[in-house]
């Protein structure tokens, strides 16, 4: 087959712009302070087909180019055309994909190609795309190699460059079609496990199996059982040893990622400070599952917890809602764009795979990065934090926007230690009718033996092999590229449309997504319902031929659901797939044989009992030892304030990346598709004040709402990971209260990201890190029980480290807590922006002497003005009382009594009040005298939990005070129509700041767009 090249470039002329080139130019300025006078772009297509070049040339303007705005050239490079490129560039760089990497524009072009050439035999035709950038006026000293490295990721892309000399000589970069070398199918192999222990460990390590010695020995023992050997011989599979298919399948199913072995382990916990010496049999069962099940007995709205892809709650009589959050940290470190995109589209599939299928209606995303302005050293193989930030943001943006799901809430957190491993949390909320038209309850799966199991959506390829086991290992310089995938949101959207129609037509008996572990996990997990399945891997459609059986079974190629259909519904299901142009292939049947039976054609390649597959993994026994860290104390008395005192500190605090406005990033997410978003991520007169929580009214015409919020406070782990967990939960709940959530109908998600916490040579401090996990979970249980807050779903990612030994970087233990719940009427909600002059400002809660690990302590410690960040971390001693206060405030908001509310977190009262002035573009007079039993610094900057600042109209003040009687409220002052925020302590003025300066400090830090010029 011939390859035809087509190139497209924007027309030059009045009013026309080369926007793709402009974007590159602005980013070089924003990230590297490089001034390039002009960048021009060319889009290239390499079309491999039997269609004549002349025929393609004739239709080039119908498909590849838009004749109004673009020029097109067939079979030649634009750079050779002096008509289109009269000036010689200083450098030209062409970037294309490596063979086998998902090329979404290429697939779309191929789809369009079929529309134009429907009669042609296109069986093996395909289209690959590339970009060329020509640089004009490049500053001296910028090399092509550096530019190319900045513009592409060599893990998944190829770059061809022409430097200034090459450009002058007309040696242009021409990239070829990325032909994948043919693969030969390797038949399943017997893997000999009758080898010494050392060799077993070695086998696990070199094979990326991520199994420990005890687990390897358990597998070894399994194959020594003579009954098992006999049953294996009967089906014609090697009797006394696993096949590679089986070993891979066990490694995926037993991975930390899938089995949560640390949360399930038996922990010997010692507290050096208190003398406690005890055993905990599964943190998960003890501290998460038990409290939630206890709560399930008290309420009637917890429909499904833990066992499905997301937790489901009844929202009203007719509708239920569900939510799930996941992390995609390791892939995002290697390929920020692709890794993050698969994160968001992956969690969307969890929602689609909940019950009999829920519709995703809102996304959340929370990122933890290294500082974007980092100028220190970077370990090998790691990207600069600003590049990780850009890539992750772009991946989530494209994944969410193209899927038509609004991003309504999130956060971005910075700390040096996330340079080693960024955290990329993606969450999705879904909705489903409680009863389907055929009368079945939508949250209950109804599989039975004999059901046909389809693989629906994308095909299986080499991308995504070993994702689950890989994420259960630390990141190294040799981390494999096959663990990285790029999502294809449109293939997924087509599948989503189809699946929801199939659900409503009653065609689905069971559904789950293909994520970690691929078919091995998805079919394996569903087979637990009927106690057996038989899979034929030869039927699985592949992206390219040659995949071995084990690769087909465990590949995590994206955009796939596994769906069980009753035999009598097959025809209707096939027709629906055809209409939506979605590939749906029967690959298995459910049985009740008790076996996970995998064939390749006629040959049995894996034969494992469902019981051994799912429950055979031995429980880990781990050691945990706590002693309270005592870092140098943060002591305000030692701080030398300059002449502007706290006013100067305020402007510096507002510019801290952890506090600064993220608007330029968040505005690039579609946050209001579906026409339901009643409180948007940014609020206030100029729609640039911070929103506390997302509020949506998903039923069109009905103001009944849902609140979605989150809390995260990783730096408190430096003092106590237990306090960190309590603070995260409290922050999420406070944010939701600001929006008027019904505190008696809210649910939570716990997403733990931890560094390796198993003591070993690689992790000598594993006992302490595990003790941090124990404390975090004990606090999680205590606070959630007090708040009547069930944890309906969660996830843990337990190996967030980079490197080993001296070079090792471990993330701070991080809990993201997400809350979703009922909001009775979105017309009655509150936002953070101050509304009108004369509104009374109140503080709810008390400011205590709690400056440990506060943002102000970190700022002054990093600048050398303070000796340390230690001291009392914010605590939550009496959560039961907090809940009653939250209920009072939330109902006051629902009653329309309070229209302004903002929670106090990083930066305390000073920062919260500043943000409220920014949102309303008004001034305020505030007196913090009497706001708590603590010094000025704590009352101004302290981060004590349980606090809000609210605004109340003067005519409502008396009612408000009465409504809140019995709760701690303090009058702070009132909103003014001046352009200044003034904060005093009694007669002493502490802060006097102009609104414009606050806006500037707050907005500039993270505006990395490079402007619009």
């Amino acid at each position: 087959m011939a390859v035809t090249r087509v190139e497209v470039t924007p027309k030059q002329g009045e009013g026309m712009r080369d926007v793709r080139g402009d974007v590159i130019r602005r980013q070089l300025k924003a990230d590297h302070n490089l001034d390039v006078s002009n960048v021009r772009s060319i889009n290239g297509f390499l079309i491999k087909s039997n269609v004549e070049k002349s025929a393609i040339d004739d239709r080039a303007n119908d498909l590849f180019a838009d004749p109004i705005i673009e020029d097109v050239l067939t079979d030649s490079l634009f750079l050779t055309s002096s008509e289109h490129f009269p000036l010689t560039p200083d450098a030209a760089i062409t970037i294309g994909f490596k063979p086998g990497v998902t090329d979404n524009p290429g697939s779309a072009a191929y789809d369009g190609f079929q529309t134009l050439f429907p009669q042609t035999d296109l069986v093996d035709a395909s289209i690959s795309t590339y970009h060329t950038y020509a640089f004009f006026g490049l500053p001296d000293g910028v090399t092509c190699e550096w530019l190319a490295a900045t513009l592409h990721n060599s893990l998944i892309q190829r770059a061809v460059v022409a430097d200034s000399a090459a450009c002058s000589n007309g040696q242009w970069p021409a990239i070829d079609y990325p032909e994948k070398p043919p693969q030969t199918l390797t038949p399943p192999k017997r893997v000999d496990l009758e080898i010494p222990d050392e060799a077993l460990e070695n086998l696990s390590e070199t094979g990326l199996l991520a199994l420990n010695l005890e687990e390897m020995q358990t597998i070894q023992a399994h194959y020594r059982d003579t009954t098992i050997q006999q049953s294996r011989a009967a089906v014609g599979i090697v009797p006394d040893a696993p096949t590679d298919v089986e070993l891979e399948c066990l490694a995926q199913t037993w991975s930390e990622h899938c089995k949560h072995k640390i949360f399930a382990s038996k922990i010997h916990h010692v507290d050096v400070d208190t003398g406690e010496d005890t055993y905990i049999d599964s943190i998960f069962k003890t501290h998460i599952m038990k409290p939630t099940h206890d709560l399930q007995k008290e309420v009637d709205w917890l429909l499904s917890v833990f066992h499905d892809n997301s937790g489901v709650i009844a929202w009203d009589e007719n509708w239920s809602v569900c939510m799930k959050a996941e992390t995609h940290n390791s892939p995002s470190a290697l390929d920020p764009y692709g890794g993050a995109m698969t994160g968001i589209v992956g969690v969307n599939r969890d929602i689609l795979g909940t019950g009999l299928g829920a519709r995703p209606i809102a996304n959340t995303d929370v990122f933890c990065f290294g500082p974007p302005d980092w100028d220190g050293e970077l370990p090998d193989n790691l990207f600069h934090p600003s590049r990780v930030f850009r890539g992750v943001h772009a991946g989530v943006r494209v994944g969410g926007n193209e899927s038509g799901i609004p991003t309504v809430n999130g956060a971005i957190v910075f700390d040096n230690r996330y340079i080693g491993k960024p955290l990329v949390y993606c969450g999705t909320v879904g909705i489903m009718p409680r009863k389907l038209p055929d009368g079945r309850e939508s949250h209950i799966k109804t599989p039975s033996p004999g059901d046909i199991v389809y693989m629906v959506g994308g095909r299986v390829g080499y991308d995504g092999i070993h994702g689950a086991t890989f994420s259960s290992l630390e990141l190294t310089e040799e981390s494999p590229s096959s663990a990285v995938q790029i999502g294809d949101p449109i293939t997924q959207k087509k599948m989503l449309d189809m699946v929801l129609e199939a659900r409503d037509a009653g065609l689905i008996s069971c559904i789950t997504d293909n994520g970690a572990g691929g078919l091995s996990s998805s079919i394996g997990e569903m087979a637990e319902y009927t106690n057996g399945c038989e899979i034929d891997l030869a039927k699985v459609p592949l992206k390219q031929p040659g995949l071995s059986a084990w690769e087909i079974l465990v590949s995590e190629s994206q955009e796939r659901m596994t769906i069980a259909v009753r035999p009598e519904h097959r025809e209707a299901f096939d027709a629906m797939a055809q209409l939506h142009e979605v590939e749906a292939t029967p690959v298995a049947t459910f049985t009740n044989s008790g076996m996970f039976h995998v064939k390749y054609g006629e040959d049995t390649v894996a034969y494992l009992s469902i019981e051994f597959l799912h429950d055979g993994v031995p429980q880990l026994q781990l050691e945990s030892e706590w002693s309270t860290p005592t870092p140098e104390k943060f002591d305000p008395a030692t701080i030398q304030l300059d002449k502007d005192g706290h006013s100067d500190l305020l402007l510096r605090m507002l510019a801290r990346p952890n506090i600064a406005s993220k608007e330029s990033w968040v505005r690039q997410y579609d946050h209001e598709v579906i026409a339901q978003t009643a409180v948007k991520p940014f609020v206030g007169v100029h729609r640039d004040g911070p929103g506390d929580a997302g509020v949506i009214a998903p039923l069109h015409g009905d103001p009944h709402g849902l609140v979605i919020s989150c809390g995260i406070a990783p730096r408190y782990s430096d003092l106590d990971a237990g306090a960190m967990a309590a603070a995260s939960i409290d922050e999420a709940v406070r944010n939701a209260v600001c929006a008027g959530i019904n505190v008696d109908k809210m649910a939570g998600l716990d997403n733990f990201c931890w560094p390796d916490s198993i003591e070993s040579v690689k992790t000598p401090d594993g006992k302490f890190k595990l003790a941090q996990l124990v404390r975090a979970n004990r606090e999680l249980e205590r606070v959630c029980r007090a708040y009547k807050l069930p944890c309906v779903s969660g996830k843990d990612s337990m190996k967030n480290d980079y490197g080993t030994g001296e070079k090792k970087i471990s993330i701070p233990p991080t809990l993201l807590y997400s809350v979703f719940g009922d909001q009775p009427d979105v017309r009655f909600t509150a936002t953070s922006d101050f509304k009108n002059r004369g509104d009374k400002i109140y503080l709810i809660g008390q400011s205590k002497e709690e400056l440990g690990a506060s943002e102000i302590s970190f700022m002054l410690h990093e600048s050398g003005e303070a000796a340390g960040i230690g001291g009392q971390v914010p605590l939550l001693p009496d959560p039961e009382t907090n809940l009653t206060t939250y209920r009072a405030l939330s109902t006051a908001i629902q009653a329309g009594l309070v229209r302004t509310a903002h929670d106090c977190s990083e930066g305390g009262v000073a920062v919260a009040a500043a943000e409220m002035c920014i949102g309303g573009r008004v001034g305020a007079e505030i007196d913090i005298d009497g706001t708590g039993p603590s010094g000025v610094w704590s009352r101004l900057w302290g981060e004590s939990l349980g606090r809000f600042i609210v605004g109340v109209q003067p005519e409502d003040e008396a009612d408000f005070v009465e409504w809140m009687s019995g709760h701690s409220i303090t009058l702070l002052g009132e909103v003014t129509d001046t352009d200044k925020m003034v904060i005093s302590d009694g007669y002493e003025v502490l802060i006097e700041a102009e609104i414009d300066s606050m806006v500037e400090s707050w907005q500039n830090t993270l505006d990395m767009t490079g402007g619009v010029a």
Binding site: P10, G15, M16, R17, V19, R20, V23, R26, L63, F64, D66, P67, I68, I69, N104, P105, S107, A108, D111, T115, L116, R397, N401, E402, S403, G404, P489, I490, K493, K494, D497, H580, R667, Q668, Y669, D670, H671, E672, V673, I674, A675, T677, A678, V679, K680, V683, R687, A697, H700, G701, P703, V826, R827, A830, T831, D833, K835, R899, T1009, V1012
Partner: protein, 284 residues
Amino acid sequence: MSAPKVAVLFGFGINCDHETAAVFNLVGGDSERIHVNHFVSGNRSLEDFEILAVPGGFSFGDHLGSGRLMGNRMRFALREQLHAFVAAGKPIIGICNGFQVLVKTGLLPGPGADGPLPDFVQRASLTLNDSGRYEDRWVTLEFDDQSPCIWTKGIQRIDCPVRHGEGKFVMPSTTDFDALAANHQLTVRYVDPKSPIGEGISDQPLPFPLSPNGSMRNIAGICDATGLVFGLMPHPEAVYAKWLHPDHTRNTAPGPLTSDTLGEWEGEGLQMFRNAVQYVLSKR
């Protein structure tokens, strides 16, 4: 009288189909979400509907230019059905990606007033925002009160969100714009909210973000010469209710004081859909 039947297209990445269908129902329409392939395959016929809506989204991921691949499918597979639809005097709206699709099929701006039926020739385009960024932000729109557009009658100024990366409206020459302007087909423009109502429209490009994309002559939407086919980049359906306006939390969201559907909570965007439904009823 039976409610006018509205076909709301979906499939291949269209994603505003649910809300677009819902707003027609709120104003007396009888809408149905229909997969494009039902019309392509002949399972269903456009003839059975009285209004066609092409909602927003990312058809085919907007690869190769927004709306282009969906535009091609419609241009090649639905040519006769679409021609007959307009010839029968039935309204069509394209919102955001739907507008891009209508422009790329050639339905907008369409041929001149002397032979206004569709000829499926592309005469304009919507291209990347000058900023290079996809953004979701609220803009203020003002309408040409002399436009023949049946969708915008009586609407003077509204606030709406834009949510696009490719909304810059371009045509090859100023004479193209002059011809459309003379027919009052430049139906809706981005304006400065501080300008007096009725005096906002200007041909001089407004700065970002008042014009979110650098559109020539600040164009947000246009109609064809018949006034039946209308497309715009902003999302009127996204402000069907006041509680979707960012200012509702400040009790200052604009919109009608009363309405038959949402009482005092009707948003400014709903009238456009009511106009089309009432137009169809008036022609029966």
